[in-house]
Subunit: 211 residues, 2 copies
DNA sequence: AAAAATCTACCTGAAAACCGTTACAAAAAT
DNA sequence: ATTTTTGTAACGGTTTTCAGGTAGATTTTT
């Protein structure tokens, strides 16, 4: 009963090829097609329909979430499973809004892909354990008072100069403000980002690709 | 002629499992063992030797490059292939310094893994096309002033703790050495890496995927 | 066995970062 | 129009880092 047709879109060819190899061994899967870009995926769907699209969230040219939005509005019967390295809730929520039926973490077990496919084919949804737990906590408002941290524009300027190895004095000269002001900003940023040293600030900035 | 034993270390279980599935189909590969952390890998090697270690560069708890350094100094006959999403030269060079015999990009074709394994088993090296080209360009470039910097094992330990926001005192306690010694190491690292602040050290480490 | 590299440790002094707090003007949001 | 946020600035004091040495013990390499 090889009935299901699957398309995988991930710019990490190596990963999608290996994944395809695994899926092709499953007896309920008819075929697996591999794309490396969103554009390629969109084009492919215009000539051929695939029951399930497995989309990587983090792709170079276009986010998998945007792609999911495009596909889900265009093809009613499509089922979409997102694939991601990170488990931040915001991304998950956006994926759901974009029409995703499932969300898998790359650090989950390979068998989850199989399970997810079975589930979404049956019209259900599938989320990696970590994700479903987080979604639940969020709905029950157990989501610890994690107020969103917003760095102000000026603070960001100063943060970027700190990351550039500028000292307080150099920053004050660059921005034509007092050294005291720079220190105040630094302290405020540290409070907001919950860091205690400049090293922490650098990590914060880099992890969020603020520079 | 199933002779080669392979170990894969990647915190993306899904990827390593799929990759393992592919490799197990190859007739020259005897077995494939999967690890999800650097610690697990180090422990496994203490009880069993694997001819080839395929290591992901960007892992949560410890950089694959640091792991490569540990393994290559401990096991003379080991061959190491790095796996990475990014192709920046600094990271590649750092991998080579750490003892890697190959460097594969995740957006390369799956067959490259097979080729890379054959090559490193024969005592040769293998780099994805994009990488080898960049390395070549770099070598032809008149980058005479850029002598390669070699951080010692101890210095690397200290560097990683600095990046973890540890203060001198905490580092000295962690490693059971004097604060003075830690400062000496820090100064030496700064001289070698041509940086003037801890922030610079963090950038140095991050740019080379050392953490 | 000798030479080189690495790891260890100490010293002094200067510079920079960190901590807690207050305060006011300008700009934005309600 | 008024409350809130943002940007500015200051004070005093503590801790940590940075700079430039010297130097002996232990590994590793040659």
């Amino acid at each position: 009963m090889k009935t299901v047709k699957i398309l995988i879109c991930d710019d990490h060819t190596m990963v999608s090829q290996a994944l395809a190899g695994f899926l092709e061994q499953q007896n309920f899967i008819k075929s697996v097609y591999i794309c490396t870009t969103a554009a390629e995926t969109i084009k492919k769907y215009e000539t051929e329909f695939y029951d399930i699209a497995i989309l990587d969230v983090n792709m170079e040219e276009m986010s998998g979430i945007v792609l999911a939005g495009i596909l889900s509005t265009k093809y009613e019967n499509i089922k979409i499973i997102m694939l991601s390295m990170r488990s931040d809730l915001l991304t998950v929520k956006e994926s759901i809004k974009a029409g995703a039926n499932g969300y898998l973490l790359k650090n989950a077990d390979l068998s989850e892909v199989k399970n997810a496919i079975s589930r979404v084919i049956d019209g259900k949804s599938y989320f990696s354990k970590q994700i479903s737990q987080a979604l639940l906590d969020d709905q029950l408002n157990l989501n610890s008072d994690k107020e969103e941290v917003f760095i102000t524009p000026r603070e960001r300027e100063i943060l970027l100069l700190i990351v550039k190895e500028y000292h307080t004095k150099q920053i004050s000269e660059t921005l034509n403000i007092s050294e005291n002001t720079v220190e105040t900003h630094r302290k405020n940023i540290m409070k907001k980002t919950n860091t205690k040293t400049s090293v922490g600030l650098v990590r914060y900035a880099i992890e969020r690709s603020l520079f």
